[in-house]
Symmetry: D2
Subunit: 214 residues, 4 copies
């Protein structure tokens, strides 16, 4: 299982979370990455944790002001990037373009989508993975195992039908080790988390509980 | 073959083109539809020609100002709608939502895309058809048979791999009967045209030449 | 006072509301306009009521698919257009471009904004009027006279400081004759309404009550 | 005069340009700032040069993935931010929201606009400065003194009429000391540059030539 911790624009200390993620990954052997604000990539990568960007723009080097260049986030230490998160929906053509940009910069990619049809569409664009974010689970306390688990199975089936090489992650409804185990049982090969770790009183303890489910 | 004439925001007389399309469709037996501005749907549909919208929004009845409601265009006579045209790119989630809206309103759907990967992605969302618009052909004088024909074949293969029920149209590089025949040879089951008819001195003659390729 | 009834994407019969608005305007001498979906402009204008568009795009005649052309809505009978409604926010440069488009097509313009600063900004672009939509009043039952009335006075002051020729309308919190009188007392020269008329059991009665406040 | 060097997404070494800018600013006494990619803010600020962001989003701390948080860029060393650059146009309401975000984070602000009307609108939102980018000068070799200089004077007049405290910068058509002097003569209190420095063979020499015009 891959655990990707999205720090969004939360008021957490990105380095504190990064150090906890690095230590828990080292101790447990579970792959954990942290996706901070672009302006914090440098310092997060300096902790040694696997570092991801939250977004890259569908652009190459050139006249693009205020758009996040894939090469720049890679240069700052990012090894992968989220794309099309439900808080940053992209045009279909721009997901395609951003995947090209990420490839040029050597970034691994996860494209988010909120139902099996969109998961299939995202998979057709050739990312490394897709993340299904069941709308009823985003930002909530409902676990993926108690909410309709069929959406994760549907996502796995949809991605597999289009391209069996594309992994499926569960992008919402995971905050405990039990949730993570439930996601794995449904066929997910990774999970996206945010507030469960970033807003936890003790991010390290939250991560330890989480990886106990692997 | 299906011939869909997109009037865009051209300064043509939509009723004149509609009447020509109706007459040529009747005389030739080729299916021809006309997609005018939303404000012109009523008068175009009144000619008896098959009438399409250029876009519908991913919304249902409700508080949505200035967004084109699928039910309203159907009410004005539209039988189908383009979506995600290269001049009106949509977010992946909004293509999905607009397809739902079109289904509710009973509209046939064609989702545009500009390469085989995006065609596959669009097909995964379950439209009636996808239209591939090779970027090098959009708005130009180069025919699809002289430019790289592989992109149409690639689009047909990509759509078919995802969902064999989704038709593929050629969305650029068609202006003559010869081009239309070339598109059909490459596996397209329809073509999108715009300036070749809408800006022609004699739209009726342009359409007659076109359908001679069927 | 100018009363502009925005039908949004509501499931009302646009012709029924238009005929009611026409009759109430005739009987009361109050200027009333109706803004339907673009696809319904033709039939609304045919009733004889003053007809407005909900939006026009910042484009001229040309290759623009699915964008609402100012000339087309004018052609279908629109005499004015809303722009930048809170349900259809536009880029600053596009408000400017859409105002140019509306001018070319002979359309009167109202630019919406949700606080005095934005009203001042909108006024600087030279529309005929701006409409202030206090966020706490949008779509609600709270009247502008009981909610903070300072925002309307602030909008009137902001517009006047930038361009005294720009009228200020009250874009939310008006549903009764009393509300309309309160808006006029605060300096508004018009009101925007939507659900209060479009979703009323008896749109005619709702309009009659409303104009009783003039 | 304030000289703001926008590195856009150019393939330059941001630290090399930053060091040159710092040294030329120190030697000349002219205020010079550098605006790199968000992911490069840390290392640019570490050089000691005044550092700016290219954009911040209209959001506060919270669930916002992939949007540039004002507090994060300030934390990484930014002292100011561009907004609404012609390569990143924003909705009117979002310029207003991004100015609020920048204020909360203690960032100085420059809002770009491409004609005097939009400059007036931007000024009404209360930024520290506005930058006028005459479209015919963006990215080109034509200097502001040989192209229509009236647009800069018009921008200065428009901003001053709305709010005399808002400075006006010239956002295009400046690459030499002569251009800078011409911009100052037209009433600009600063200039925005990009390729003239970022793509120069010798950025230091380019900056030295530039400040010779003060």
């Amino acid at each position: 299982m891959f655990v990707l911790v999205n720090l969004k624009a939360y008021p957490c200390d990105p380095v504190e979370v990064a150090e906890a993620a690095r230590d828990v990954a080292d101790a447990s052997g579970v792959r954990i990455a942290v996706a901070p604000q672009a302006a914090h990539l440098d310092r997060v990568a300096a902790t040694g944790v696997e570092t991801w960007a939250q977004h890259v723009a569908p652009v190459a080097h050139g006249s693009h002001t205020g758009h996040t260049l894939a090469e720049a986030v890679a240069d700052a230490g990012a090894e992968g990037t989220l794309l099309n998160h439900s808080e940053h929906r992209l045009k279909l053509a721009d997901i395609d373009g951003a995947l090209d940009a990420a490839d040029r910069a050597g970034l691994e990619t996860v494209v988010c989508a909120n139902n099996p049809d969109q998961v299939g569409a995202a998979a057709a664009l050739g990312p490394d993975a897709v993340a299904v974010e069941p709308p009823e689970l985003i930002g909530g306390d409902v676990s993926v195992s108690t909410a309709d688990p069929g959406i994760v199975e549907g996502a796995v089936a949809a991605a597999s039908a289009v391209d069996p090489d594309v992994d499926v992650y569960c992008g919402a409804g995971v905050s405990t080790g039990e949730d993570l185990a439930a996601a794995a049982d449904l066929g997910a090969e990774g999970v996206l988390l945010a507030s469960g770790v970033a807003k936890a009183d003790d991010p390290r303890a939250a991560l330890e509980d989480l990886v106990s489910g692997v």
